[in-house]
């Protein structure tokens, strides 16, 4: 039996026992509709309240500033489409970056089609947003700036505080109210973020990246922010997100948040240890280079002369699960926008893998992975497409 090493935690994580337990309670015992007037409804509603409290405690915001969604994608869609719809009278210009996740990028393309003007900010070779570019682009027509907190492919930690400061300074000087949205899906649970203190108006989080269930997520919306719903119905979540609350997912997200922040310090230490081990030992191998940012749980490595898809499957064969930095196959020549944006050597665009960790990963697993890489790379390099 080959060892199993799951190094794809930025894609999704396994559910931890505490989360599973609270979810089962909501399925077996408190299965009522939180909106029902009777006791069963009250019982279910407690889980919603619990989750709002658990999350707002970590974000240092009010519980009513948390809106539950069906996941990170919906949170991002609601943030962008909902805020723009509610504030479109203030202007028609949106600023984002060239390295956003598809769930930000595509809603923004949709807005562009609807007639909004969009600026995509440059990033430097580490994937960090060019703050000078931001200063230049903020204007009287700008209504929203959206950036991620941590890049999902290479782990760059974006300067969200500086961005917020720049926006606030502009707002003050020009009597404007440009809003700032942060996609914090890869950052949440791995670092402390207090949106209200930083000056973030809207912020997306997701449950399944932090050992919570898939289909869980939330949007922090500052009380003072005007936002419109993108789904219409029974008026749950203050009318901003209609639909019977997914009690199981919400309770699971709340519990995962609580557990992750309880152990934040030791978790981050473990993540960094595993990440450093992998990067140090792997880059000692021939033709391996590191593109990783500072996020403790994401490593991006390029393997000269090897196609990422082939290496991915070869690792899989040894029980090691990672993801390709870019989706590439002969029929799908789409190369990662992030890797292009950081000006990665052309030859390495299709030779890059992402290794992403959770606190259950060990240094031994990282060492085993490097050992396997050491065996595979010379063989795979012998056979490449001519």
């Amino acid at each position: 039996m080959t060892q199993e090493v799951y190094f794809d935690n930025a894609a999704t994580t396994k559910i931890i026992p505490e989360v599973r337990e609270i979810m089962l309670e909501t399925m077996d015992v408190e299965y009522g509709n939180p909106s029902s007037m009777h006791l069963k409804g009250v019982g279910a509603e407690k889980y919603i309240r619990y989750a709002k409290n658990a999350i707002s405690k970590q974000l240092k915001c009010e519980p009513k500033e948390i809106i539950f969604t069906s996941g990170g994608t919906e949170a991002n869609n609601l943030a962008l489409l909902g805020v723009v719809e509610a504030n479109k009278r203030s202007g028609n210009h949106i600023i984002t970056t060239g390295i956003e996740h598809a769930s930000v990028y595509n809603p923004i393309l949709h807005l562009e089609e609807l007639g909004f003007r969009v600026t995509f900010l440059r990033v430097d070779s580490e994937g960090k947003v060019d703050l000078e570019h931001l200063r230049e682009e903020l204007c009287d027509e700008t209504i929203l700036v959206s950036t991620m907190a941590v890049n999902n492919e290479i782990g760059t930690v974006e300067p969200i505080e500086e961005i917020a400061t720049i926006i606030q300074a502009y707002n003050k000087g020009h009597d404007k109210n440009i809003l700032y949205h942060v996609d914090a899906i890869q950052a949440f649970g791995k670092q402390i973020i207090y949106p209200k203190r930083i000056g973030i108006d809207v912020m997306s989080i997701s449950g399944h990246k932090i050992h919570g269930p898939k289909g869980s997520g939330a949007l922090f919306v500052d009380n003072k922010v005007k936002i419109k719903p993108i789904l219409f119905g029974g008026g749950q979540e203050k009318g901003i997100r209609s639909g019977t609350e997914n009690t199981a997912a919400i309770a699971g997200l709340g519990k995962a948040t609580e557990v992750m922040y309880d152990r934040l310090e030791e978790n981050v230490q473990q993540l960094q240890l595993v990440k450093q081990t992998l990067i140090e030992k792997a880059t000692a191998l021939d033709g391996v280079t590191d593109n990783s940012g500072e996020a403790p749980h994401i490593a991006s490595l390029s393997f000269r002369g090897v196609r990422s898809e082939v290496l991915l499957h070869a690792l899989e064969d040894k029980g090691i699960y990672v993801s390709a930095g870019s989706a590439c196959s002969s029929n799908h020549p789409a190369v990662s926008g992030v890797l292009k944006a950081i000006d990665l050597d052309k030859e390495l665009l299709e030779s890059t893998l992402r290794f992403s960790f959770c606190e259950y990963n060990t240094v031994e697993e990282a060492e085993y992975t490097v050992k396997v890489l050491g065996e595979l790379l010379p063989v795979l390099r012998k056979f490449t497409r001519k």
């Binding site: 082939v310 070869a314 002969s330 012998k382 001519k386």
Partner: protein, 398 residues
């Protein structure tokens, strides 16, 4: 209208002389296999006709769709039966049938009565005019048109009376199992599932072989081929899919032979392996989806060159078809959407930018000599490690 009986029409097998009963038996069995999942049915042969009886509740649309996948059937007629072989009873049944199926719509019709039961006192001609008269009386909006009627109202007088007016087109061909078994080389592309379908339509049972090249091809590519085999098995009956690990042979060719000959040499070894597996499994022929000139490995020269390694007949039903014609069939048999899923297959991973299009057999053979010291072992190893998956259409939804 709720039908409980279907008359199954078949054309070609009617002409097979003394083998006819064997063909009919196979067809009956095929029909039973196909409809088994949809409810309780019985299949009976009566006077050179096949009848399907529903013994339980069933979904009409699903049943027709399934019967249209049975090779050997040319027409499916939902019928109503009158057990009393007397004119008044027949007349009443015909009128109620017409009223229920056509209401009183303005359609033209013609009665087409036949009697094999010569004890019945009226001739076919008399039946036609009498029944026509009563239908016109009952449905004043309908009109008779003896040349091009919208509705052909068939009334067959046998030991019972069968009434029907719909003939739903069947798949045609011959029932699977009446013509031996062949081995299909299944790649994951558009053409090979179509080739399998076309040969199976001539009554041939299928097995299939797929060449897998991990880690250069993924588990998803393999899953795609299993799914394609499952879709084709909806017509042909279950397919044993032999999955060959081809990586080492491919790498050996890559290392030792001229790069532009890689594909052609690879295909020659694929054919050899396929033939070995075919022999072991009682197949009498190979099937490929090749079409002349479609790609470098399918020029006349290349085909001749690959064919040279085989002793079995190789059937290439797409050989004279254009790509669009093949695509049309793949859309009809529902393999197209799966075929175009973008996973790399073993034919594309090491492909040369400019492969030979006019390979010369002697040169290819000389290149293959460079493999002499390893190829027998590699072939044996590939044959020893074949994984067999039984592809059944039921598992598509599982």
């Amino acid at each position: 209208m709720k039908y409980n009986t279907f008359l199954i029409k078949y054309a070609e097998i009617g002409t097979k002389g003394r083998n006819r009963y064997k063909f009919e038996d196979v067809l009956c069995q095929q029909i039973k296999n196909h409809v088994a999942r949809l409810g309780e049915f019985s299949v009976r042969r009566e006077y050179g006709r096949i009848f399907l009886y529903a013994e339980s509740d069933y979904d009409y649309e699903d049943l027709i769709k399934e019967l249209q996948k049975v090779f050997g059937i040319v027409g499916i007629c939902p019928i109503v039966i009158e057990e009393t072989v007397e004119f008044e009873a027949i007349r009443d049944k015909v009128i109620s049938y017409v009223q229920e199926v056509y209401g009183d719509k303005a359609v033209t019709f013609k009665v087409n009565a036949r009697r094999t039961n010569k004890a019945f006192p009226m001739s076919s001609m008399e039946m036609n005019s009498e029944l026509g008269h009563f239908v016109l009386e009952a449905c004043p909006n309908m009109k008779v048109d003896v040349h091009k009627p919208d509705v052909m109202l068939n009334v067959e007088v046998r030991s019972q009376v069968y009434i029907y007016s719909h003939v739903i087109k069947g798949a045609g061909g011959l029932p699977v199992g009446t013509n031996g078994k062949a081995m299909l080389l299944l790649s994951g592309g558009i053409d090979s599932p179509v080739a399998g379908y076309m040969i199976s339509k001539r009554g041939v049972e299928l097995e299939a072989v797929y060449f897998n090249a991990p880690p250069y091809t993924s588990e998803r590519a393999k899953q795609k081929v299993v799914d394609l085999a499952r879709i084709v098995s909806g017509y042909s009956g279950k397919i044993r899919l032999h999955i060959v690990n081809f990586t080492d042979i491919q790498l050996a060719i890559y290392e030792k032979c001229p790069h532009e000959e890689l594909t052609i040499i690879m295909r020659r070894y694929m054919m050899k392996i396929a033939e070995e597996i075919a022999k072991k499994n009682d197949c009498l022929a190979l099937i490929t989806g090749e079409s002349i000139g479609q790609v470098a490995s399918q020029t006349m020269h290349s085909l001749a060159c690959t064919n040279e390694v085989c002793t079995m007949p190789v059937f290439r039903p797409c050989i004279g078809m254009d790509k669009q014609e093949i695509v049309d069939i793949s859309e009809m048999i529902d393999t197209y959407e799966t075929s175009i899923l973008p996973y790399e297959d073993c034919c594309t991973i090491f492909v040369a930018k400019h492969p030979v299009t006019k390979p010369i057999l002697e040169i290819i053979k000389r290149s293959e000599e460079k493999l002499a010291d390893v190829i027998d072992d590699l072939m044996q190893q590939a044959l020893d490690t074949v994984e067999v998956v039984e592809a059944k259409v039921e598992d598509l939804q599982a």
